[in-house]
Symmetry: C2
Subunit: 357 residues, 2 copies
Amino acid sequence: MITIKEIAKLANVSPGTVDRVIHNRPGVSEKTAQRIREILKEHDFKVNRIAQSLALKKKFTIAVMLPGYDEENQFWKSPLEGIHKAGEEAMSFGIDVKTFAFDQKSPKSYVDSFGLLLKTNPQGVVLVPTFKKETKELTQILLEKEIPFIFLNIALEGHDNLCFVGQDSFKSGYLAAKLMQLCLNENDDILTVHSRSNLSNVNNISKRIKGFEHYFKALKLKNTNHKIEIEDFWDAKKFRDKITSLPQEGNEIKGIFVPNSRAHIIAKHIEDFGNKIPYLIGFDITEHNSNALADGKITFLISQKPFQQGYQSVSGLSKFLLYNTPLQPDILSPIEIITKENLPNGQQKDYTIFPSL
Amino acid sequence: MITIKEIAKLANVSPGTVDRVIHNRPGVSEKTAQRIREILKEHDFKVNRIAQSLALKKKFTIAVMLPGYDEENQFWKSPLEGIHKAGEEAMSFGIDVKTFAFDQKSPKSYVDSFGLLLKTNPQGVVLVPTFKKETKELTQILLEKEIPFIFLNIALEGHDNLCFVGQDSFKSGYLAAKLMQLCLNENDDILTVHSRSNLSNVNNISKRIKGFEHYFKALKLKNTNHKIEIEDFWDAKKFRDKITSLPQEGNEIKGIFVPNSRAHIIAKHIEDFGNKIPYLIGFDITEHNSNALADGKITFLISQKPFQQGYQSVSGLSKFLLYNTPLQPDILSPIEIITKENLPNGQQKDYTIFPSL
DNA sequence: ATTTTTAACGTGTGCGCACACGAAAATAAC
DNA sequence: GTTATTTTCGTGTGCGCACACGTTAAAAAT
């Protein structure tokens, strides 16, 4: 790796001048700049990021705001771990990551958390834009303060966010449908179980459902898809009632589609369906889902690499702040198909990075 | 992040002394060492890897030896790209990665390449142990020279390699069987197409076949699996002959299992099977396979994240050399199920690292 | 032609760490 | 008590880069 000093010697100038050329700083005559640029290219000069980080010694604070998790809803555990991992590694680069959790069901806590967030004077923000109206207000503030921000997991449009890190939900629903079709025969019925879409109609779950339905429509398949809506997934009786009240002229339900991360609950409910247990397709490798999959109660899980998403949101923003590396507008994680047979043993923390500890 | 200098001030000693304690170097009285250790722990001191790499300025050469690739067999392209990517990033850390390609079918070129490799005086080696007997000799040399080495893609046993980076091939074959079963009805027949296992019987492909067969055996399924062996996959006539000469009393072949990366060729051959095209399951996202999958000629591809594997082999070895970070004996990449619907657009280079360019 | 301004470039320092070297203190040898 | 030896510790330099500052040369103003 050739150094600035060496380049300087080759060009008969001082390191400072080479530095100016590299960073397009003023104060260099076009003639010598040209010469230096040629030498740089000739020797394929690349800045030593290590030395650069050390010299820059910039101090950045990245604030991350995401829903909390509990025993009931574990989805956000994994992204948070990815965020922490990236934070650890970014530390050496002078980046301080602070996280703020809010209640997924409370717009007030969403806004309140944002207030706390602002107090840390972040130079960059990662946001899970759970509430549409409130998000508009918050991003307005960020834009005024010229704080760059990126959206994680939920792709809200028209907010001037730097980028979106998440999954193509429509596509994943479409994929679920494909898998479902592979399992079923031509005339088997399908059941889609979802809860009241309490947030916005642009959210991931409704996109999954749309993708799912689109597959069957596009391929002109004639399987009937019964959609039921349940508020409390744990209410087994309600679930049973809904099922039995479906139109009687239908065929047998051979497949169940659960477009959220709580397929394991439905798995429990259908355990006592007798010997004709239907195929079950759900989302996200939470601990509960993972267990149900391992027990054979769930056929497929579709995973969106939440750890990786958390990691990428922070690492991407870090790179942007440190090196002005532009981010691609959409960072979509691969859509993974998980079965009992390829379920990863541990958590998916397969993201090993160099300067890690 | 607290620095050595700050710790030194707190302990009323010089930075040099703190440095000695951190690295367990001699020359510090036990009394002061104790005191410093306490302060280190109290402030949760972590060395700044960035500054460390810069100061260390170690020079390591990592030599990688793997099969070449061509239009015909593109499998090794992706690992090589992963290796290059890791090499680029490791460069700032003073690591120089050199790659050597050999002919997959020629033990001689294998040994010859190794000769060239040795001339670079590497401090670490990544090896794809394609030939069993020769590998024993080569690793013997490495052991004598005390050069640590790791195996990539092929898990040869009993060679004192630092670790193995690759896939659990048995498991991936098992998974293929599961997917196959989901597609088929109870009495459908299966065709397994493989080429002469020219290398060793411990290789990945035979493991895949074993895993595949084990699934059906373990679940006591009664689908018949016809196995045919073809030397030249491109020979359509031979393929057709083999098919037609299968026992007539069998049921219809509804699924084809190709345990290598050339399913796309079989896909071509079965195109003119008429309207009853069977399900096809193959391995690895090469360009050809990818196209065949997109065209709907292949049902499933099972991928082993070859880019990631290449990347991890080099990054893992780098960490080991730089920081003595121990490596886990087996680094198994996730087994991915790829369908037309979740096929990644570009190459799978989703491994973004911090100090990258 | 002299001064003032500006453009063009060189120099020096520090980021946090590793390590060589040398100084001081403690101990041993006599 | 003096010298020799060893232990214990401090100092200084450099890794490659960014950037502030100072210096020189060129251009502009007078």
